[in-house]
């Protein structure tokens, strides 16, 4: 009975003279709308529009394209989401991608270091930069924005410096072949992307250290008084972010069979945007991997769809801007 009343109320609130049946339908729609988590609604809307406008949008091949196009940004965004969750920010991700890949390629080519070893060193460089970010923003008591701005600057310089600005080509065959490998029709990079998200999401939801991130982001002092070693956890988060950026670099290197010192430089804003569109707050404590993944797909689908429609490159940024606003407006959770 009360449910019925509810529906009637809703219908009345909508200011229409609907019959009982229509009111019930409206209530169902509202319930479905309410049940879908925030940014997903924006994604669905974008997808509906594009599949209506372009016959190529809803094809398997195009979906695989979308995933592979967002793979590096997506992997970096997974790390960025963690950093943002603890109320920090990491501006160095793009530069870390570049420097780790350049060091890797440089050691392999100019010093004949075995590729597996040089790759490990490259990943180590990523982790090291993350460690420095962590130390500076905890024990160094420097705002993460400033600390990571400094390491970003330093890393982009070092990436240029090792080869004096030149790119490096000629990775091992087997490595570049990874970029085209498909497992059951799914490209490896897509598998890596999804695995990273699943692993991070598991950590964040089911492991004590991962769960501590929410506590730290909510209130660092409360977390500290609750016996969490906040400094250690924060440093770990920056290390993970650095490692993931280096991993993204590897994927990029395999795809292009080359290492560019300026690779990743333009990705920074996209990476942070993905996390924030996914519903995270830059002040920390809220957000998660599901939202980030949706944010990633919103950006990926928008870019892909406009390319399919051959929208003028001059207009694309305008459409993206408007679409971001609409997508976020649909997210009622962000409206608090």
């Amino acid at each position: 009975m009360s449910e019925l009343n509810n529906n009637v109320d809703t219908a009345r609130a909508a200011g229409t003279g609907l019959t009982m049946g229509a009111g019930r339908l409206f209530g169902v729609i509202r319930a479905v709308y309410g049940a879908i988590p925030g940014p997903l609604l924006g994604l669905i809307l974008v997808c509906v529009v594009f599949s209506w406008l372009s016959p190529y949008f809803l094809t398997t091949r195009n979906f695989i394209n979308i995933f592979s196009q967002v793979s590096e940004i997506g992997i970096m965004a997974a790390g960025a989401a963690l950093v943002i969750l603890i109320g920090g920010i990491d501006l160095s991700v793009g530069a870390v991608l570049a420097v780790s890949l350049m060091v890797n390629a440089w050691l392999y080519r100019d010093f004949g270091v075995p590729f597996v070893l040089s790759t490990l060193v490259g990943l180590g460089v990523g982790a090291l930069v993350g460690f420095v970010n962590g130390i500076l923003s905890t024990y160094g008591r420097i705002q993460p924005f400033v600390a990571t701005l400094a390491t970003m600057s330093a890393c982009s310089g070092i990436a240029l410096f090792v080869t004096n600005g030149g790119p490096v080509t000629g990775f091992p065959e087997w490595f570049t072949a990874l970029a085209t490998i498909r497992v059951a029709g799914i490209p490896l990079e897509m598998i890596i992307l999804v695995s990273v998200y699943l692993a991070v999401a598991f950590w964040l939801n089911f492991r004590p250290t991962g769960r501590a991130l929410y506590a730290i982001g909510g209130s660092e002092e409360v977390a500290r008084l609750s016996g969490i070693d906040t400094q250690k956890v924060k440093i770990l988060v920056y290390v993970i972010a650095g490692l993931l950026a280096a991993l993204a670099g590897l994927i990029l290197g395999a795809r292009l069979d080359s290492a560019h010192p300026t690779a990743g430089a333009g990705d920074l804003l996209s990476v942070i945007a993905v996390v924030v569109i996914g519903g995270a707050s830059l002040s920390g404590g809220s957000g998660g991997m599901f939202g980030t993944f949706i944010g990633l797909l919103i950006i990926g689908v928008l870019r892909n769809g406009m390319a399919l429609l051959n929208v003028s490159p001059n207009l694309q940024p305008v459409v993206i801007g408007v679409a971001i606003i609409i997508a976020v407006m649909l997210d009622r959770r962000s409206q608090r």
Partner: protein, 509 residues
């Protein structure tokens, strides 16, 4: 439309309703406040007192009902609307801007101007005057950060007084104050009443209500359940109305403590804060910390619990030396502390109550390397039942009433049995029923052999609970009294003891 009563001066509220979603927080409340009187408002935690006050002060909009102020309809859209009509609210929670000066906090939203610029001189002068009226000597130019809770509460009151309100609401102003500071506030309330202002006074300290109020209303579950227009009223009647049944106070003496030493603190000190703190604590013993507000009790217990470092001294638990360099280390050694500022230090108000409770214990919750949400809510549910917490454990703690938040805070630290349990101001802002429940919890802990330290500004509380009372003054330990020797007089004598040692001057900003 309006009956004759409306032509009389006063604030008349009729059928005030407030609901959050499907939850009705206020269910049709009628209440009238006359100028020149004090209306005492009582009720259990979560009864809806603060919500009612917020509606009157324009902070939240009612879902239904109407208000009439001095004969004219009154529907404030914002706090500034309310202030413009002469209605001011002193919030239950302190709301000051720590980075701004005292003077600027006092004049926030209506800075005085002269010659196109903010007139700092007159602002500071007026601030000085109003603070002096409240018996507070604070440099108006210093930042609020670093001021004790009592002083911040005083500034909140000064801020409201500066508006010259005709109706003024005090929502638990004395919750964080000692008796001396509370007396200053009462003086102001008497003065306001003499000047013809209408005052609403909310408190869980019923003695305050019986002394101050001309008229008392009691809320329960969003309804006004009782009203007394004639004073005096017996305290027991108030309690019965609040709780909704016969409720008896029992003041039983604590059970005797054990013999084994649980904790030994020797020569604990930190430069510029406190020094020479030495005491032993037996298993099952409750040690009270008494002193004037700002005596440094919080600093001492924070150092013991690893929240701040200590420069000198040693701490032993069960004969083993503890290096309490961090809360983590202290917890591992069996020392836990419930901090005094539940909003800033104790709980994460945006997170679910259950997640707050499990936070320190998640490592022990793991099964097969993972923490399952069901285990979290199970632990939350168990603590809810154990401590009689009213509210959904899956909702953010911030949406619970103050008393229930306090219970969540205690529950968080009592998931596992500690060796030493420290509570700082355990009953701040808690209703009588909950207060008794918390006392029972503390006594029960002691009875099970846990050593307890209780820091409280309510002398009655310290004296009623403790086996022994440690008194501090100006950062020094001035004495430890046995239960039989601890009287209000003997404690106060020690509390003012070291006064001359520390200069009374304000630290400049």
């Amino acid at each position: 439309m309006f009956d004759a009563a409306h032509s009389e001066p006063g604030l008349v509220c009729r059928k005030i309703v407030k609901s959050y979603g499907s939850i009705e927080v206020l269910k049709s409340v009628d209440l009238t406040l006359r100028p020149g009187t004090v209306l005492g408002l009582i009720g259990e935690n979560g009864a809806g007192k603060s919500t009612f006050n917020n509606i009157i002060a324009g902070v939240v909009a009612p879902s239904g009902g109407e208000m009439v102020l001095d004969g004219a309809p009154y529907a404030p859209q914002s706090p500034s609307d309310a202030l413009a009509r002469g209605v001011a609210l002193i919030h239950q929670e302190i709301r000051l801007l720590p980075e701004l000066s005292v003077a600027e906090n006092l004049f926030l939203g209506r800075l005085p101007m002269r010659g196109g610029r903010v007139d700092r001189a007159s602002m500071e002068e007026q601030s000085h005057a109003v603070l002096a009226r409240l018996g507070m000597r604070i440099d108006p130019r210093r930042r609020v950060r670093g001021l004790s809770m009592a002083r911040q509460q005083g500034i909140e009151i000064a801020k409201a007084l500066l508006r010259d309100p005709r109706y003024i609401i005090f929502d638990e102003p004395t919750a964080s104050l000692g008796e001396a500071d509370a007396a200053l506030i009462f003086e102001q309330i008497y003065r306001l009443r003499e000047d013809g202002a209408g005052v609403i006074y909310v408190s869980h300290r019923l003695d305050e209500i019986t002394t101050l109020a001309d008229h008392v209303a009691c809320f329960r579950d969003g309804n006004k359940v009782a009203e007394w227009h004639r004073m005096p009223v017996a305290k027991q009647d108030l309690i019965n109305a609040m709780v909704g049944r016969e409720f008896t106070f029992e003041h039983h003496a604590p059970q005797p403590s054990g013999d084994r030493i649980a904790m030994r603190v020797d020569g604990l000190g930190r430069d510029g804060a406190f020094g020479d703190i030495s005491f032993t604590l037996r298993q099952g013993e409750i040690l009270g910390f008494a002193g004037l507000v700002g005596a440094g009790r919080t600093d001492v217990v924070r150092a013991i619990a690893g929240a701040d470092r200590a420069d000198t001294g040693t701490i032993e638990v069960d004969g083993v030396k503890v290096h309490a360099v961090s809360p983590k280390a202290a917890i591992a050694a069996g020392i836990v502390m419930v901090p005094e500022d539940r909003k800033g230090l104790g709980l994460n108000l945006d997170r679910a109550a259950a997640a707050n409770i499990t936070l320190p214990w998640e490592r022990t919750l793991q099964r097969f390397g993972m923490i399952r949400p069901s285990d979290v809510s199970e632990m939350g549910g168990a603590q809810r039942d154990r401590f009689d917490i009213r509210g959904r454990m899956g909702l953010p703690v911030g949406s619970m009433s103050g008393g229930n938040q306090q219970k969540v805070l205690l529950a968080k630290w009592l998931v596992r049995e500690p060796k030493v349990f420290i509570v700082d101001e355990p009953t701040r802002g808690v209703d009588v029923g909950a207060k008794m429940a918390i006392y029972e919890i503390i006594r029960g802990l002691a009875a099970s052999g846990i050593a307890v330290i209780v820091v409280s500004s309510e002398l009655e509380e310290v004296l009623g609970l403790s086996h022994r009372v440690l008194v501090m003054s100006e950062g020094r330990q001035t004495g430890i009294l046995d239960r039989k020797d601890a009287t209000p007089e003997s404690v106060m004598a020690l509390a003012v003891g070291g006064k001359a040692v520390r200069p009374q001057l304000e630290p400049s900003a």
